[in-house]
């Protein structure tokens, strides 16, 4: 866990969102504000001109040290719909591949007057590290750091849940899969608890379940899928990385699907109006059956669309906070 002093570094002195690094430490009020703002941005996709002028003149750099399709493209589209200029840095062909350090990359891009960095990195804590070292007028948005946090994914999942269930206060939500290595699961658990979901369950084989997670996150632990999703309102499936098979944490894809794969038959244990979610990309036939993935209870593609609105909300709030700051500096110089 990140120490308290660093946790709060994503807010300015007035409690406005300056960076978006983790769900940890954020109030329910702020999470709801993000969801409400995102609701307003959904309509932008219906405009003939799918753009709003909020971040006109701002430069947003996508800095992805890990591969990503969905997250990077939805961040890019979100930034463009806010009228920002977007730089996509392809790290494999960039100076990093030539040995440049992360801080040097940051300094160089800051020298090009980049206002916001969207960062994904295999090392936990990268976004926090950048936020600590970035210039005061620059915002950092975490697009996934190691096993630690993927806060915009969690917020788009919360947004999708709220659109389907309306209210968090009486929900049972089950998260199934590789909890151990999942930054998505960590952020989801924090967001669900913060938003007041009373019953959060996590379901995983013992090899993929972190120790003492009940106490750390206030969730219920299951090792049996059917038992775990019984009467659940929402079932969130996580991606199984194939590398886990090689590292001997799972015996085989076949056995995982046999025990933990979500099928129509298994899903009957959940509530009839259950919503099935997956952050993507799906491994069909490993964590879920195609019938479920493409079924009427699946909202997987909706999650992708919602990701754009939620990322617009987060980015515009951070840029708005920069503006507040710039304004007050301007005043004190006046």
């Amino acid at each position: 866990m990140i120490p308290k002093s660093q946790e709060s570094s994503q807010l300015d002195a007035q409690g406005n969102l300056k960076h978006f690094l983790t769900i940890e430490g954020l109030s329910r009020e702020l999470l709801v504000e993000i969801l409400d703002k995102a609701e307003g941005f959904v309509g932008v996709a219906r405009q003939a001109v799918k753009k709003v002028p909020l971040c006109r003149g701002k430069v947003i750099a996508n800095l992805f040290f890990e591969t990503s399709t969905r997250t990077r493209t939805t961040f890019e589209l979100a930034a463009k719909r806010l009228s920002a200029d977007v730089l996509n840095l392809n790290i494999s062909t960039s100076a990093t591949a030539k040995g440049e350090t992360l801080l040097d990359t940051l300094r160089n891009l800051e020298a090009m007057h980049v206002d916001m960095f969207v960062v994904r990195h295999a090392s936990s804590g990268t976004a926090h590290f950048m936020a600590r070292h970035a210039n005061p007028h620059v915002s950092i948005v975490n697009a996934g750091d190691g096993r630690h946090s993927h806060p915009t994914q969690a917020m788009l999942d919360m947004f999708t849940i709220r659109r389907h269930k309306g209210d968090f206060s009486s929900l049972s939500v089950a998260i199934v899969g590789d909890i151990m290595h999942s930054r998505v699961a960590r952020s989801q658990m924090l967001a669900l608890k913060t938003l007041g979901v009373p019953d959060v369950r996590i379901i995983a084989p013992r090899t993929l379940m972190p120790a003492r997670i009940e106490e750390a996150f206030g969730v219920r632990v299951y090792h049996d899928l059917t038992e775990g999703i019984r009467d659940a309102d929402v079932v969130i499936m996580l991606r199984i990385q194939r590398e886990r098979m090689n590292s001997a944490l799972l015996p085989s894809e076949h056995e995982y699907f046999h025990l933990y794969g979500l099928t129509e038959a298994r899903l009957t244990a959940a509530r009839p109006d259950v919503t099935v979610m997956h952050p993507g990309p799906i491994n069909r036939g490993i964590e879920m059956d195609s019938q479920v993935a493409d079924g009427e209870r699946s909202v997987i593609l909706e999650q992708v669309s919602n990701g754009i609105a939620v990322r617009m909300a987060v980015m515009s709030m951070c840029i708005g906070t920069q503006n507040l700051r710039a304004q007050s500096i301007g005043e004190s110089h006046a």
Partner: protein, 215 residues
Amino acid sequence: MLPRQPSSWKPGFVSKTETWKGPDEIAAAVARMASDLRALIEARGLRDLLMIGIHTGGVWIADRLHDQLGLSEPLGHLDISFYRDDFTRIGMHPQVRPSYLPVGIDDRHLILVDDVLQSGRTIRAALNVLFDYGRPASVVLATLAERTGRELPIAPDVVGFHAQLEANEQIKLSGPEPLVMLRGRIPKGSAAAASRQGIDDGSSGRDSTPRQERP
């Protein structure tokens, strides 16, 4: 310290408030507006009108006008938060409501409704939103109150009340039930008075209290 600046009038920034127009006077004004609109529609030969209220007060008034004019298309709602010209000064407006336009606006005649017209910046923003949705044939502006303080070349077509107010005086519609127009004065030299920059929706100011982090 960075003050969260109020962009509009909130209780506490205004020294004293009083009722300027009560529910009956507002009902009468809305009836006058409806009749003026009917005359204007007749004179210009407008067909297939679409009425759009600006959040929040404008929607309350538009709702009543829409009933009285018996328009067939549902009422549209417009939120201008993403088009405000003070985003670069005060950041994101705290409350954003989704805009809702029931039908395409291309080649349609629109009636745009707001509660108070002051600087004209809200209407400028609203027109920009509309033009990102399409190209209307024409736009008519109806406001419940029109007051001194215009900063842009924008004029209403139909008005309920005219008000001569000093720069530090404020009027604000409170509602939705009952509708009351309040009037008050921002103390001179206060941060609120100094930071007032035009956009005259009284609907929701920035919260002046810092958010508390979870302990």
